[in-house]
Symmetry: C2
Subunit: 305 residues, 2 copies
Amino acid sequence: MVQKLIEEITKKNAPVVAGLDPMLSYVPEHIQKKAFDESGETLEGAAEAIWQFNKGIIDAIYDLVPAVKPQIAMYEQFGVPGVAVFQKTVDYCKEKGLVVIGDVKRGDIGSTSAAYAAGHLGKVQVGNSICSAFDEDFITVNPYLGSDGINPFLDICNKEDKGIFILVKTSNPSSGEFQDKVFEGKPLYGLVAEKVAEWGAQCMDGSYSNVGCVIGATYPGMGKVLRKMLPHNYILVPGYGAQGGTAKDLKPYFNEDGLGAIINSSRGIIAAYKQEKYQKFGGQGYADASRQAVIDMIEDINSIF
Amino acid sequence: MVQKLIEEITKKNAPVVAGLDPMLSYVPEHIQKKAFDESGETLEGAAEAIWQFNKGIIDAIYDLVPAVKPQIAMYEQFGVPGVAVFQKTVDYCKEKGLVVIGDVKRGDIGSTSAAYAAGHLGKVQVGNSICSAFDEDFITVNPYLGSDGINPFLDICNKEDKGIFILVKTSNPSSGEFQDKVFEGKPLYGLVAEKVAEWGAQCMDGSYSNVGCVIGATYPGMGKVLRKMLPHNYILVPGYGAQGGTAKDLKPYFNEDGLGAIINSSRGIIAAYKQEKYQKFGGQGYADASRQAVIDMIEDINSIF
């Protein structure tokens, strides 16, 4: 699967992923109104508003970006109707040829991780039938429970040609509280990175692994060290834009071949029309604003090469 | 919310939680057949089979146990229909007066944790309406991202009188890979426990906190140390029964007042009819087998006092 991601990145010349993390407050008034008129001010109405919002953005940017990263929490907050729109969004993005990274940060003990792996990346057996559920291309995974929580994901990566990104060093201000603590000379994120290298070696797909990692753009020094530790693992980099990461911070996340990292922006793309820079587009033109924000982001990122 | 849990535990004299983690292979033939005949060998059929299975068990045990712990992965693997049955299970258990602990192990950066907190424990605003989504009483939370991933849950615990159990030391064999690493004389799980005490102090509900923790029954030595570190935090203890924890291992998880811990069994209860001990009940009597397993478990646990 990482080869498909690389192919799309190369074809579009854009090591960029659009984070589809819709807050209801990002959805322009006219879309909210139409959805609420049809489905009420209910979970269904909220889910419909988010779906229409997403569809507009996807239609406007799918030819520019290789991948999208829907954050399932933003859907799950609207209950079952929200989760149904997560599924609809995944399906629609795949129809448009996009690589879909489900930002689900799952992780549990063995048999439970196996259920998450089946539901998000694999297949489930029902009677004599084989069914797919969410069926993303990649998902993000939390490592706190150790190898037997990760192994079921590795099995599915190999069986179904899918991928995972394991949290190593997250972009948030307090990520250091546990992740930076030094154990026998190594920070926790470094210990996790060592395991990512080991797990990744079991899931190679060409010169890169289907097991990547998450390292926030807000910690470029650590990005540099981890890049060297993990030459074969793709880095999913959140924290560019709204969280404070800038293009010049991103160089160390890439390998010499210009590959090895994909930079996420969520708010910066999907709520672009709310920024002063793009406000001329207005709520009606929110999707065009997102398109322009993607064009600008790609130019900004590519300026570092 | 922890006071409601304590009240139910005391009333039923049972510091026990039934883990509703249904695998399709646990569901007796006759229930699977009926569901597949009605809804096909589809995700819908699987979800319906699980719902009927759950309903039978809940009806058979709700007067004996204070709480249930549905593991969302087991529902999520069947996609949107599975998640709908998770919701239906939560609702039905609450109707029956049970405390519901959603075993979701969520955790993310600030605004995303806020969305999980709203969806699972709180409310969401849609236009001028306030809606509830999954609305469990407690959920489990992963601490890897640090305080700003936890704080949104604390806010909701205080605002809505709900609770969380934070993963400290999990029951699985490889939990030590990261959790046992020692930093300046303290293991990672100890560092997390220190934060749990700190977070918990912000959410007191009587003499216990609405912030509890998860410590596996499979590590009783650590349970003993952590019990002393966390006198005001309820411990949710997985790993009894099928995973190898025995009643005599459990004493150290309780405080002197006989409170402070609640022991989970999943397979041991819901798939009891598959054990030699309860096989006389057969598939048709699976719910009665679960009831007997609950009675036996309560007796076993209470023997330690």
